[in-house]
Amino acid sequence: GCGNDADVSDGWVFATDHEYSVRPDGYPGLTELYGFEFDDVEIMDLGITYGALRDGQVAVAMGFATDGRISAFDLVNLEDDKYFHPVYNCSPNVREEVLDEYPEIADILNEIVPLLDEQTMSSLNAAVDIDEKEPDEVAEEFLLDNGLISGAPPEPDKGPVSVGSKEFTEQLLLGQMAIMVLEEEGFEVDDDTGLGGTAIVREALEGEEIDIYWEYTGTAWMAHLEHEDPITEPQECYDKVREEDLENNGIVWLDYTDFNNTYTIMMRQDDADELGIVTISDLADVINEGTPVP
């Protein structure tokens, strides 16, 4: 806010979007749980907190954990060591009938999951968002590098199965990866990525128009399964969702990724390294000790 042009603000200034600034599960709850206060809070559009942090206008910012700009701008996510934020780990969802027909699909897709930590996902997103590469290029390159595909898929002899996705970058990437690994194993795959918003894609899956897409645990818990209280521990959330979704809707959740596309608290990598901050608790300590911003 109070404008000293693009100058670096003094002290521990925190950039947040409007919603996060007042929600109980946002900034107020966070500071309460971790027991610290920022010197000042700057409210701005979600999309530009990353830039504000990079440009040194703030010392700490909130964002979403897998945004491409985190890696591109040399930022680092602080670990939510007290499990404050709800969790949004990602997992391939497959319809039960499809899995019954082609059980190998589970293994094929689970091959991708362990490769995707926050750092990786963020870089991949950055390749699309910042470097303006196409999602399929980026996905192919990534899978080739990790030896999951050969670059020359065989003639399909199975299928067809249909892979969908929501319409933002991360979803498009994940969708493309799923398609490629399936094709590598000889599936004929329909590309239905970029279908629409969460509700639309989920409906498509339930309506058997698509067979596979990637969903986030927190989203399913709150939106699809219509629970009110968020869960902040990844494993717990995954377990509950998998159980309930299979039982009620016949949807199978494969393994979940290490990356957690939830709210994150970020710092510049340099600053974090200098002060030895890894977790939000570290940050709280540093601030409470009165250490100045580097």
């Binding site: 806010g1 109070c2 404008g3 000293n4 042009d5 693009a6 950039a15 979007d17 409007h18 919603e19 600034s21 007042v22 929600r23 109980p24 107020p28 700057e42 409210i43 701005m44 559009d45 530009i48 830039g51 504000a52 440009d55 206008q57």
Partner: protein, 246 residues
Amino acid sequence: MQMIIKNWFRWLGVPLILILISAAFVIYVVNNPGGAMAARSLTYQNVLRYLREHVHLVFVALGLATAVGVPAGILLTRPKLRRIGKVVENIVNVGQTIPSLAILALFYVYLGLGFRTGVFALWLYCILPILRNTYAGIKSIEPGIIEAALGMGMNPVKILTRIELPLSYPVIMAGIRTAVVICVGTATMATFIGAGGLGDLIVTGLSVRRTIIILTGAFLSAMLAIILDYILGQVEQYLTGRDVNS
């Protein structure tokens, strides 16, 4: 005596009443936010800060817009400088047509985030009415008066400052007052780029669906515009109408 009271009332009384109303409103909502989420936003400290930021943005943007819009409008009226004026006008036109969001998106790369970009976007938004009205106002002066001034050997600068500007003053002021009102309204957008202002309240209210927060922001913004506009209106009347009763 009555005159003095009346004048006093017109100059200070009305703005004061409006300020008191605003203050009463703020006191009311801060004490009755109707929920914890709203209460977090609606503290005296926050509201005052947003207000201050808003005023700051508006003043700087408007000052710059006047400083550019009036001269550009004048350039347009000079036959010889018409071309330069046209260029300026077109730039301003284009600037104006680009949605503020797009401006922010496109310009924060160069100007950085926050105040500077906010001022820049607002400036682009306020400049047009000022420029246009300056041009139209000067153009509508009776030629006989200008001829008399020319004949008196006034140089173009003098004619401008002594004759043309004072005579087209009401029209130029109409432009500036329009700009003020637009500026105060548009300044709420500045929140998107972290330039603060009352937009913080409105957008926060929108995103967490708390009407009272939106209302507070909108109300204060409206009041601010009304007060500034009123004061400018008084200044205008004072300067043009001192002893003219027509």
